[in-house]
Symmetry: C2
Subunit: 249 residues, 2 copies
Amino acid sequence: MSLKNIRVVLVSPIYSGNVGSVCRAMKNMGVTSLAIAAPRGSLETEDARKMSLHAYDVLQKRTEHATLAEAVADCGLVVGTSARQGLYRNHSETPRALAPRLGEVAKKTKVALVFGPEDNGLSNDDLQVCTQVVRIPSSPKYSSLNLAQAVMVCCYELFTASGEYEAPEALSPEAPSAMRQQMFKRWRESLLEIGFMKEDKADHIMLGLQRILSRGQLTIKDVRIMIGIARQTKWAGAEAKKSRARRGL
Amino acid sequence: MSLKNIRVVLVSPIYSGNVGSVCRAMKNMGVTSLAIAAPRGSLETEDARKMSLHAYDVLQKRTEHATLAEAVADCGLVVGTSARQGLYRNHSETPRALAPRLGEVAKKTKVALVFGPEDNGLSNDDLQVCTQVVRIPSSPKYSSLNLAQAVMVCCYELFTASGEYEAPEALSPEAPSAMRQQMFKRWRESLLEIGFMKEDKADHIMLGLQRILSRGQLTIKDVRIMIGIARQTKWAGAEAKKSRARRGL
């Protein structure tokens, strides 16, 4: 997917601060092309600059167009967003379902994501220009999202589908089974040594411990730590025994 | 999943307006329990009220706690969010990967989603209180999300995983194959009738038309419309022929 071919189009946004927030959300998700259709006024405001924070470049590089049709004239797909239902709106998809397809198309041509004004969203006339409609899943108790939040969810889905995100590398790989077994053997020895359990209860208690330690990921580093604890515990148990023996207990 | 058991915890938020935006994002995604840990000042501000819009009830029902540990004392899982990497932070998961597990746990007990202050995020001390760390996928060029945007992405993932969203019902089911075939038969007749194609090119052109009309979903209603057009087109073609014949052409 090329996120470079994704264009966010805002139709007649009311609050310039919201446009600033939109820029930040876009840049967070690797989308940097912004177009304003039928602008209401200047977006060169202190609010817009403040809310865009480190995405002021997105705001500055925006294009402005008299109509939505002009803003998307070169786009192969034009995706309208709508929270309302009704004519044209019922065949909507979720951003997640649509994201892979948009990504495919964006490899070859421009794709527009269109958002309506804060108060009423896209009009039916606007939707006529769109090739598809997305609806962000939301609670029926309060389904109207803030403009920048709606942009964030859509761009987040595109960014996630693009596969551009690389998770921070785990420091250590998952421990192999033999190493885990070694760990449990050491723990068994140490728990016996400190008198936490007697031999006849050991199997039962070790099963519990195995269950506890098998629930999450256990890396080689984690297992080394656990083996270290067992070793030190066993040592402390042995010392305690000697001390008690010296004191004739 | 019970979204009722999800608690959003904000640690020392700086801007009350952001807390208002957080409330709106939460309610949009069906999450309504908010706790503030180590508050910096009053959240009863005009900014907070304005940004929360129809989620002012979430703001009003919030709880406030002296420390993060107190705010999450009754929670079975405590999920910290972090954009930074480093100690404790590298074993992070994405909100999408973690959402199903959080949903499972939230069926039985409270789950906390913890967000740090706008400027620096969660401290290492805060992360010590957390049972896991999530990291929202974002562009390496600008990875720091607005607080309310981060809350939105996490709550959106939980809401989506909860399965509580019902897509608006499509007005008409996908058309069965026989109906589609009927449609293509009518179109073939009409395109021959109006002279758009001759019999020798008809198969080739009909293959193109089938390709075009098979790309998207085609409901029974859609097919009826297309059959209607073909019928009317054929009629017009026949009338045109008669007219030309009358005029001796």
